[in-house]
Amino acid sequence: MDIKEYKDIYVFCEEKDGAINDASLELLGEARRLVENRPQLGYKVIGVAIGNLDEDLINEIGYHGADKIIWLYNKDINHYSTEIFTTLFVDEVIKKDKPDIVLIPATVMGRDLAPRIAARCDTGLTADATKLEFDPENENSSLLYVTRPAFGGNLFGTIVNETKRPQMTTIRPGVMEKLPKDASRQFEIDKREVSIVNINDPVKLVEVLPRDHMAVDITKADIIISGGRGIGDNFHILEECAKMIGAEVGASRGAVDKGYIAKDHQVGQTGKTVRPKVYIACGISGAVQHLAGMEKSDFIIAINKDPDAPIFSVANIGFVGDALEIVPLITEEIKKYRERPY
């Protein structure tokens, strides 16, 4: 393998629910930042999309930072298939175009696809990156330094792949910043009609079950905003805030016993043990049985009227105040942040 033949940054763009998902747009933003910080490489950002997609979606990829979009098109590709996507990405992109770097969002789809592609090309794959930079010690190098958490977030490692190409990485959604949409950007669309007659994916989709079928599973959430008896029957305030943040709603047993919210949401000794990145406790006193279920959270924010509430003893930051007033203001602030112009 001649490493010098490989160039540019390729971003796999995932379609989800009729749009290119944010996780992919964030990677386009990050790829732009990388190439612009090292102009001497002369690298381009190339988006890769697969399937029978709307032309509008392909344009979105350009509006968010791609110089070129390779669109592997076949009218019969209407949902994700591990085998079809792997084969097309390897045969039609990696073998033909020789990318130096391939970025894939660490979504359920990305984490199914990326290891399969990397194994087929016999290259390294770094998982769940939270930070990317080019070799800080050599300004002409395109060696990617990839930082990622391991050991349940207790340790971070910086990983490199010096010997194989492409350098492949998956990146956690929500970590990188997408660029604002710019409909005046210039980009090229390289639409390639691909054949799938010789690709057999034995996995067949039988049906899709919508979210309504799912019980809440707060243990998987990265952010939990939890309420106690201090919230009373105003849990809708927390739900609105959770939606805006991208969080799940948790609760104390005090609130569950009062019937303010379903038992699925209960955190604590007789509820669920959670360990999110952020736990926001609102109007929860902090009884030991509650703390048992959440004190291992990476970062704890508490809001309580009572400055002596025991919840403050486990919080990283505590705020004395009325949660009913503060929570809607958080929702508003986040809304503003998300809509801010650049």
Binding site: D22, E26, T82, V108, R111, D112, A114, P115, R116, A118, A119, R120, D122, T123, G124, L125, A127, T130, Y145, F151, G152, G153, N154, F156, G157, T158, N161, E162, K164, G174, V175, E177, K178, P202, K204, L205, V206, E207, V208, P210, R211, M214, I223, I245, K277, F299, I301, P307, S313, V314, I317, G318, F319, V320, G321, I326, I330, I334, Y337, R338
Partner: protein, 262 residues
Amino acid sequence: MNILVLLKQVPDTTEMQIDKETGTLIRTGVPTITNPDDLAGFEMALRIKDEKNAKVTCLTMGPPQAKSMLRELYAMGADECILVSDPKFGGADTWATSNTLAAVIKTLDYDLIIAGRQAIDGDTAQVGPQTAEKLGIPQITYVDDILEITDEKIKVKKALENSYEVLECPLPALITTLSTIATPRYMSVKGISHAFEKDIKVVTFNDIDIDPSIIGLKGSPTKVKKTFTKEAHKNSDVLELDPKTTARKIVETLIDFKFIGK
């Protein structure tokens, strides 16, 4: 039916402490456990065995200490346990790990391979799919339930971000399971006494046919340049501010720590 379960012995990361002086992980004295996703997958294998008389084989690659995990798996109901262990395999990244696992698996009979979705130490979720690719068999990741299994095919429920998919696939195939798929059973008293009579088969480098340049630390394309721990957080600033400033501070904290993106 032959079911092969891939399991990894891991440090209990919830018990992990950081040495504040050196900023490194304190690994000594940290209890080891069977990776939770794998143990849940193993329980599913045992349930299939209870119903259909399958043979359940457990396979792990790791240092000799991993035998303690395999004894427990025998006590829970495994039929055969294999330890792949050789200093030459050590320090492998996920690519080298899957090359080794696949080389061993090729010498075994299997209809279904169950791996965990993700190991709690390395945390990559890559070994399952990479092993399937090396074996040339189909995969279904993020499996939250097995709905049906026959000698010919499997039907499962896969968890996506905000929906489920029901997928069907002929065997042989590899699935990766979530820890929520099943609550593992306890070891039985009878099982524990049998566990010590059973043999753990040890596979070393010389027992398999593999190119030494694709295994272990040396064969791994990804290299860890450096490791560091996150800053220990300060305990408890309790602030009393007006509601608007409070809200703004909370949102700034979420953004500064990159807990939320745009």
